[in-house]
């Protein structure tokens, strides 16, 4: 049976790519190919940008509340497709179905938040900045924006940006990850039902060539990117060279501190979710567990026991707690890091290398893996593994935790479990990462707060969603007036 070939969505129509360069889309739980994705050409990307540019002026002149009404209809369309989108996501990405539902929910919440454009996009004014002279700062849309999306959150991430850009009066081009293109394709079927004016929202599948074509295209005003740090840095530099706005989010190596006074029983479920949810392929996943003082001897056996209980399997099964990783290549990369940890003399107390799942012998599974006695200098403590591999670094006190956190390049998120207020204050006051969890293992800001890290985890000034993102998608025109 031939596999479905995914189409681009350009100027309000589905279009087969002319590219002969095709990639495979996999079902990570079974190791089967399930679709073919085109690596579209520069010409096709340029067509999408032209469609977006041509649509811009009329869309920009559409009243803000009318633009918001498209988003209300879009929300309804997404709600109607909710379960189907979530199932498509679990199938091609591997994550557990509840995680997919959570991701689709977050996607929709961004659409909901963006409908507040009539209060969130407003400018400001002042009378008499000089005698009889008034001044206004009026936010205006800018033109075409684009998103280059990662594989770990294929539904949600483009929608951290797109609804805000569009509701502000811009037009948009999305490039989904070539590893998980089916989810965004399904989402665009829901978009298509809403009846946006042609060219306002476009999607082009592809790989590196499409990325470079987006960075080179002079008609794209700004780029939002989420992915690895080296690529984030590349995107940031290239956008600087071509004069584009950019918000470029990179990798992470998040530390979770457990203070001696933490309520271990209450903390454990969220710790397991933090480290092993999405098979560790989250930029907010816990990666390093730092028990402080005598907490180490209490938490390590309990944490290991809870990890061993995780049910690993097909993300589509309701009982699955942890699904497969994205690809065979990524599985091998993770296994390589586990080998490195052993070579560097970390103490492997839970080994996920030989993880087998009944009836799914070809799935890309890695079991929960825990290293104890890790030092901050070891490779597994420094590099982003992006898998279900936990490094435990024992700390004598909170100062040592803060020091380890602040000597990493990555500074995405950091979490602390404690019942002590002053420890929390000290932690959040002093650590470099920009998203902080207190008795929360995944410090994920919701759509109405900004999302983004610091240091090597974020390049650019304005983060994803929140109120600030309206600034990214608008430019303030300052009008100074005097009536003679």
């Amino acid at each position: 049976m031939s596999l479905p070939v995914l189409k681009n969505y350009i100027n309000g129509e589905w279009a087969l790519s002319q590219s002969k360069d095709l990639g495979d889309v996999w079902y990570p739980a079974t190791g089967e190919k399930i679709a073919t994705v085109p690596y579209s050409t520069k010409n096709e990307l340029d067509q999408a940008v032209k469609a977006a540019k041509d649509a811009y002026w009329e869309w920009r002149c559409t009243p803000a509340l009318s633009r918001a009404r498209y988003l209300f209809r879009l929300k309804e369309s997404f709600e109607d497709s909710f379960e189907d989108i979530a199932r498509t996501l679990s199938r091609e990405q591997g994550k557990a179905i509840d995680e997919s539902r959570g991701e689709v929910r977050r996607m929709i919440e961004n659409v909901e938040h963006a409908t507040g454009v009539t209060t969130l996009m407003t400018g400001y004014s002042m009378e008499d900045i000089a005698k009889n002279i008034d001044c206004t700062a009026e936010p205006q849309p800018m033109g075409v924006f684009g998103c280059i999306a990662p594989y770990n959150f294929p539904a949600m991430v483009p929608w951290w940006f797109l609804p805000y850009a569009v509701v502000c009066g811009n037009t948009y081009v999305v490039k989904p990850s070539e590893q998980v293109p089916m989810t965004q394709t399904r989402i665009f079927e829901a978009v298509d039902e809403v009846g946006f004016p042609e060219g306002v929202i476009n999607m082009v599948h592809g790989s590196r060539d499409v990325v470079n074509a987006m960075l080179d295209n002079p008609d794209i005003e700004g780029i939002s990117f989420v992915g690895s740090t080296p690529t984030a840095k590349y995107i940031y530099q290239r956008c600087g060279e071509t004069g584009k706005r950019v918000q470029s989010m990179g990798g992470a190596k998040n530390i979770v501190a457990i203070m001696p006074d933490a309520d271990l029983e209450k903390a454990m479920p969220s710790l397991i979710t933090s480290f092993f949810g999405c098979s560790g392929q989250r930029c907010l996943s816990g990666s390093i567990l730092m028990p402080v003082g005598d907490m180490a001897d209490k938490i390590i056996p309990a944490f290991k026991a809870a990890a061993e209980k995780l049910i690993i399997g097909d993300g589509l099964a309701e009982t699955t707690g942890m699904g497969a990783v994205i690809s065979q290549a990524h599985k091998e990369r993770i296994l390589g890091y586990i080998e490195t940890g052993i070579e560097e003399n970390a103490d492997l107390i839970l080994d996920g290398r030989d993880c087998s799942v009944p009836d799914l012998p070809n799935g890309f599974f890695v079991g929960p893996t825990i290293f104890d006695s890790v030092t901050p200098q070891m490779t597994i403590a420094k590099e982003e593994i992006f898998g279900p591999v936990v490094s435990i670094i024992r700390a004598k006190d909170l100062d040592e935790v803060i020091n380890v956190i602040n000597t990493r390049g990555f500074a995405n998120a950091a979490c602390i479990y404690t019942s002590d207020g002053p420890s929390v204050r000290k932690f959040k006051y002093r650590v470099k990462p920009a998203m902080i969890g207190v008795n929360i293992g995944i410090a994920a800001p919701m759509s109405f707060f900004p999302f983004g890290g610091a240091g090597d985890s974020m390049f650019g000034d304005i983060k994803g969603h929140g109120r600030e993102v309206f600034q990214f998608f608008t430019d303030k025109k300052v009008v100074i007036q005097r009536w003679l």
Binding site: E79, F82, E83, A96, I97, D98, E99, R101, G102, E103, R105, R106, P269, S270, I272, T273, G277, L284, K309, I311, E318, T319, G321, I440, I442, A444, M446
Partner: protein
């Protein structure tokens, strides 16, 4: 089979609603049970309301922050085992209906307890339970 997470608990509830609705359709078509027709219509409406509520709850009350495992909860005690069952005898039908209502009521009560950390979810389950309690009480009159 385990009910070890948010989606599993709500998806099983939807299965219960679906199965019981199919059984009540059978009763509704049985000439011997014509006196139960108005009850069956009401049960069907309530079940549709429950289904809508539970689907919305599954869609709207899930975030990464709450994807934490549920312990010591399984499907086994709540399996209805009525799929494809064809019963024509009135008293057997009534006794199965009572069993369905008791099972669903008990499931919703226990599920709400398991979900007490998520008050909105627990509230939806309690609402579904309340409808099932009313059904059970109505059936007890026969």
């Amino acid at each position: 089979m385990l009910l070890n997470n948010f989606g599993g608990v709500l998806s099983f509830a939807l299965e219960l609603e679906d199965q019981s609705r199919q059984f009540y359709e059978q009763i509704g078509q049985n000439q011997e049970c014509s006196d139960l027709m108005s009850y069956m219509n009401q049960f069907d409406k309530d079940s549709q309301k429950n289904t809508k509520l539970l689907k919305l709850t599954r869609q709207e009350n899930v975030t990464e922050m709450i994807l934490e495992a549920i312990n010591d909860f399984t499907r086994a005690p709540f399996l209805l085992n009525i799929n494809g069952m064809s019963v024509s005898d009135r008293s057997t039908m009534l006794s199965i209906a009572k069993k369905i209502e008791e099972t669903c009521e008990s499931y919703y009560r226990q599920a709400a307890e398991k979900m007490r950390g998520l008050p909105e979810v627990a509230q939806s389950l309690k609402t579904a339970e309340k409808r099932r309690t009313a059904h059970r009480q109505a059936l007890n009159e026969f």
